[in-house]
Symmetry: C2
């Protein structure tokens, strides 16, 4: 006799995901995940791996041979990026202007690296000259910054740091978790040595994997180590032999997650990178106009903003968490609050891939206006939608 | 204008997965993965997490509070198990009788542990008294063995080691990747401190996560460390605050993979653990009879065999890889070959969850008999099917 099941089948609600990730999953990706699982050394899967790497190179803007998804979520990508190139005692410069810079510092310490942090206020960029000075003064072997700080909404300039790192020989590591496929990364042009991301942001797949790319300079650093990479699971010298020609078994790849990523990348390249970047840029501006119409200030100055995440300040007297709960309960819409020192002070609204399109923004702004008004904030609930559409009308033939 | 996609949509073949994993995915699991992705702090997801932990406790046979899936495949579970409890200089005993014991040794060295290996021939168990002697002589802080050696098909006895570890205070770590839900684990009864597994073996979900459980004794060891856990991503003291009551954000959980695991566990508990274990035991015996009918010897002596993987020796003069290629090409069936010193010498045939049922075994044995005969091995191609059915007929009312 079969026993009764302990719990009923899952039945999660259909939430419009406007937080900082996971983002709205594209229907084509759900469908791709239904493809039958095959073995991790099956010829059919090896072909899918090759195609996935090739599409990732296009989206990262790189010719790097070693470009593949790490078998873990975005933070596994961060750990993979750092543990492979840091040895005990190595001077490492980390730029910190949010949660993810802080996280990098914790990883550097766990690797035994000698940490040199450069801090900037949460909500502002790290001045490149400060990073470069710290790099030169410390003789840094590795310098790392977050391109898209998901905790604040800041877009970090990369060119000058890339140039300086190339001159000094430091390995330049960049966190692109919230920018990949929403903003140009240009790994090769910007002389980035290691860049990593996640599948659940602008790629619109479920959280599962962390795309990463290593330059030849980064790989030479790994091969020249005096100590083994402290993580077996994330050791790039072994993983690359599975993703590369050798096909040496390392760990069992998450087959279905690779299917999902493959489809996500096809969707991105179907649209075309330039069109996709421009769409994100425009919709971020339209959203800024809508926030202004609600009388909300943005945390980040205009020329330092991400195109993939908008972070309005919570007005005095408004209960940040109540607004979110109200949106979730009445409208089945998720947005997020601030973290750490910004807890209760900002909202974080992701504009990632499928999230960055006019239809969904109308829905979001209609509902957001309503809950703002209900909370007592004296605002026309339709002001956001009006501003959004005025922006589209004045600037473009049609919304994206 | 949208650019043309770089590659066509994936279209992997429907392969009957009889290798050592990934195993046949249950149709209910594919369906569960279509549930809409929600946020990783959404109340609906938090409830699913709690249910998943509760069902994992039942399948592991434990009351351990800290029981959850690691966000990576089985090897991430191994790394999580070891890096949390090993500090530099700690004496660690590892039993090695296959690939996965070797892998543990590599991780111990990367943690700076002082490695004491106990070796046994590949295809035989580790004599418990040898493990216990090594543990006592080295003053081991941690002792680890593989319950189900996926590279050989050996089932390791655990009781005596568990008792001795409990007496000595060593942390007892057990790899259950290929046994969880196919054979009893009995974490609490056997005094196992940390056990881990994978989703793509007897649970029949896609590879994605590594279920793990920590005893209070293991957690006390982690909390008493003098050095930080070297992996940020796998640091159980932080992950438990997300899976536990605090719900502190650590990393974004792989939502869809948790849905898949939740459904996998429901399927296991629907069947009932006792029934499921007995099914695996019987079908492993039936398969042994079938292999004997083909004139194939098994690598592992009868009383040391797994119920979830059978490992026949390749007869003299038969091309091991050609048999596999033939099965894959003509019948769309996957089995695996040996690794390391067993390369070319054995086949590895998984009998995991959905794989361990009469209907699929008939298919496998019919095809296997055919390709064996075609290879020149003088055998009745139907001998395997005959032996399987004779076993069912003589032993039981009906096959499982």
């Amino acid at each position: 006799m079969a026993a009764a099941p302990t719990f009923p089948a899952i039945d999660p609600p259909d939430i419009l995901l406007y937080g900082p990730g996971p983002s709205i999953v594209h229907p084509r990706i759900y469908r791709a995940m239904m493809a039958p699982v095959v073995g991790h050394l099956d010829p059919a899967f090896l072909a899918i791996m090759n195609e996935t790497s090739e599409m990732l190179r296009q989206v990262f803007g790189t010719q790097n041979r070693v470009t593949f998804p790490v078998s873990g979520t975005g933070s596994a990508g961060m750990e993979a990026a750092l543990v492979n190139v840091i040895e005990p005692g190595d001077p490492v410069v980390i730029g910190v202007n949010g949660v993810f810079g802080e996280r990098m510092c914790s990883i550097v310490e766990r690797c035994g690296g000698t940490l040199h942090r450069v801090d900037a206020p949460w909500g502002r960029i790290l001045p490149p000259d400060q990073i470069i000075d710290a790099m030169r003064q410390s003789g840094a072997k590795v310098v790392a910054v977050v391109h898209a700080e998901t905790s604040t909404g800041v877009a970090q300039p990369l060119e000058e740091i890339g140039r300086a790192a190339a001159e000094s020989g430091a390995i330049f590591v960049v966190d692109c978790v919230t920018s990949l496929s929403g903003m140009p990364i240009d790994v090769d042009r910007r002389q980035i040595d290691i860049a990593y991301s996640g599948t659940q942001k602008c790629l619109n797949a479920p959280p599962a994997m962390a795309p990463i790319t290593f330059s030849d300079k980064a790989l030479a650093r790994v091969r020249g180590r005096k100590t083994p990479v402290q993580s077996w699971y994330l050791d790039v010298t072994m993983i690359e032999q599975y993703w590369g020609k050798e096909r040496t078994y390392h760990h069992t790849a998450p087959i279905t997650s690779v299917y999902a990523l493959h489809e996500a990348l096809r969707i991105v390249l179907d649209e075309g990178l330039e069109h996709r970047f421009e769409r994100h840029r425009r919709n971020a501006q339209a959203m800024a106009a809508a926030m202004a119409a609600f009388g909300l200030e943005l945390l980040v100055p205009e020329d330092e903003r991400l195109w993939t995440l908008v972070t309005p300040r919570v007005p005095e007297g408004v209960d940040e968490a109540a607004i979110r709960a109200h949106l979730r309960e009445w409208f089945h819409i998720e947005i997020a609050g601030g973290l750490g020192p910004l807890k209760g002070k900002i909202w974080r609204i992701g504009l990632m891939g499928e999230g960055s399109q006019a239809r969904n923004l109308e829905t979001l702004l209609g509902a957001f206006g309503h809950v703002l008004r209900q909370s007592g904030w004296e605002v026309d609930p339709g002001a956001g939608v009006s501003a959004l559409n005025r922006y589209y009308r004045e600037q473009y033939e049609r919304p994206h």
